[in-house]
Symmetry: C2
Subunit: 339 residues, 2 copies
């Protein structure tokens, strides 16, 4: 049987109100009784029931974390960052894996609300009207990672995906590439994937190249999907000299596919990724990419959210972090000569 505050009160010879006061320092208590209570607590190894506590305080100490796919190293790293801060602030994290499925997302959100989590960290591709409706109604503190959302009141954290993709594409163009293909994820409104695609397009246009459809490969976020996309592309399309994969995982799928088809990377085709997951530097060839401060994003987002939960004043609720272009083996060191 579990020890309750009543046992403690009885043993210490005080009321349970007093025990509560001692534990929470909520009102001064006679030092002698104070001592007795502490001893009773120790003696009985009493730990207060957080459920009962939560019922009064309307706080659960739980943070919901909604991500598309924990097996994607990007999200794993993010979750690790979240976890660190959650733990440090004495919260716990409920992990929700939506497998990129919008219905699961919504059902998870409702579940989290019903479970009375104190706040939600939300990462997803699409933010549908239903989502917005939910966020508006639920009144829960929410932080988005990796995307903005102006029309609802939520905090957000990301990098300038547009500019980063612009830079990456420009890096290819500057070195002589003209047929630069892109592997992109399904597009919806203001996702990071969309922003990256836009950055690519604009960079191409800035070099007077129309970013034609035939340069676009569609993939979801998984390695095998990118592999298949490239395979299909190799069969059907004109050759390209560079491929900008909008995530490292997709870059890996691409490189693997090219090699399987005896196309040398980077000699014949250069490839770049996005994110800088740990594997990017250990893959062979190591992958040129855009480094996002993933871990830090997770930490910052969580701090932001917890502030929001505690109704602290927040200076900036929409943060944009710096990124960095990292050159590795999947692109050549020397410029491309001719085409």
């Amino acid at each position: 049987m579990k020890i309750t505050i009543n046992e403690v009160a009885k043993l210490a010879g005080v009321s349970k109100a007093t025990v509560s006061r001692v534990m929470n320092n909520t009102k001064p208590v006679n030092p002698e009784k104070h001592e007795r209570v502490l001893r009773a607590i120790e003696e009985l190894e009493f730990t207060p029931n957080p459920v009962a506590r939560g019922l009064v305080h309307k706080r659960t100490g739980l943070i919901g974390v909604v991500i598309p796919d924990i097996t994607n190293p990007f999200f794993a790293e993010l979750v690790k960052g979240v976890e660190e801060v959650v733990r440090e602030k004495n919260y716990n994290m409920i992990l929700c894996n939506t497998t990129h499925n919008m219905e699961k997302e919504l059902s998870y959100l409702n579940m989290l609300k019903d479970k009375y989590v104190d706040g939600i960290i939300f990462m997803t591709a699409k933010v549908s009207p239903e989502h917005k409706e939910f966020f508006r109604k639920s009144q829960l503190p929410v932080t988005f990672i990796n995307r903005k959302c102006d029309d609802i009141h939520v905090a957000s954290l990301d990098i300038d995906n547009y500019q980063a993709a612009f830079d990456m594409t420009t890096f290819f163009l500057k070195r002589g590439h003209r047929r630069v293909a892109i592997i992109r994820a399904p597009l919806t409104d203001k996702t990071s994937g969309y922003e990256r695609y836009r950055g690519y397009q604009e960079a191409m246009r800035s070099y007077d190249i129309e970013p034609e459809e035939s340069l676009v490969m569609r993939s979801n976020f998984k390695i095998e999907s990118a592999y298949k996309a490239v395979k299909k592309f190799l069969k059907e399309q004109q050759p390209v000299t560079a491929i900008f994969a909008t995530s490292d995982l997709m870059a890996i799928g691409a490189i693997r596919c090219l090699r399987d088809h005896h196309v040398q990377v980077p000699k014949q085709v250069e490839v770049a990724g996005f994110d800088d997951i740990p594997m990017a530097s250990y893959y062979s060839p190591s992958i040129t990419t855009i480094r996002q401060p993933i871990f830090e994003m997770g930490r910052k987002a969580t701090r932001l959210l917890i502030k929001e939960v505690n109704r602290e004043i927040i200076k900036t609720r929409n943060v944009t972090l710096p990124y960095q272009l990292i050159l590795r083996e999947s692109t050549l060191k020397t410029p491309v000569t001719g085409e």
Copy 2:
């Protein structure tokens, strides 16, 4: 303000007991009132407060999942499996990342107990006396993944790590290798790492080769650690013709290091891993490895745990799943001739 059962009762013109009965089908209710209650619930969009519910039932609907490192694809995959079943059974998962740190582990366990989770899935290297003490005392249903533990009453799920490592090593030996090195994680009692090391040793001995210390590289579970271990090894030790890395991540670190030092894999040195994480087939070279049914382990473990939570009868509380040797590019197809 959040709707409570009282509002519903008032609107429906019944007592809250009746509302509760309608919701839980716990006692027959007059069809007319039944209808009124349902309408009131809908009208007010009432969802019962799980915290209050939990207080009565002494159930939180939470499962704690304790893992060393979510950024390790093995654990990510496992967690994904856990998540799927947890969700399906209407539980939620609290994720605890211990970064291989035993103090964090213990503090998490206590936190989980204090939070009144209904059960714990536990993955870790070392199970110290403190751990056992905790499990014995807490009375919480616990399932171990990837290791056994005979002396305390917990469920467990794993593969035959010893035999798998034996097979992998034998695969090398059979094909002519004699200097087979191993990269192993820190050893403690009955961990999977220990079992794998034992399997390697016995396989070597079965070929009359003493598994000498000079063939052992020490690493933790991370890529970079294996990279460094191999680097050190290359400087100091006699050459080897095969390396058995006891995890895929370590195999990747090893391969990358060998290549950086102009040692060709598999031509000069063959490398094998363990686990068969998704990256194992997409790395180049793709990695020969032992396939564990990781996802399935996560699912099975969770089912087992939830049965335990509900005090259902369990036939086997210690399950050993099948594994499979997968041959890929990091080992040659043809046997090694001579040494």
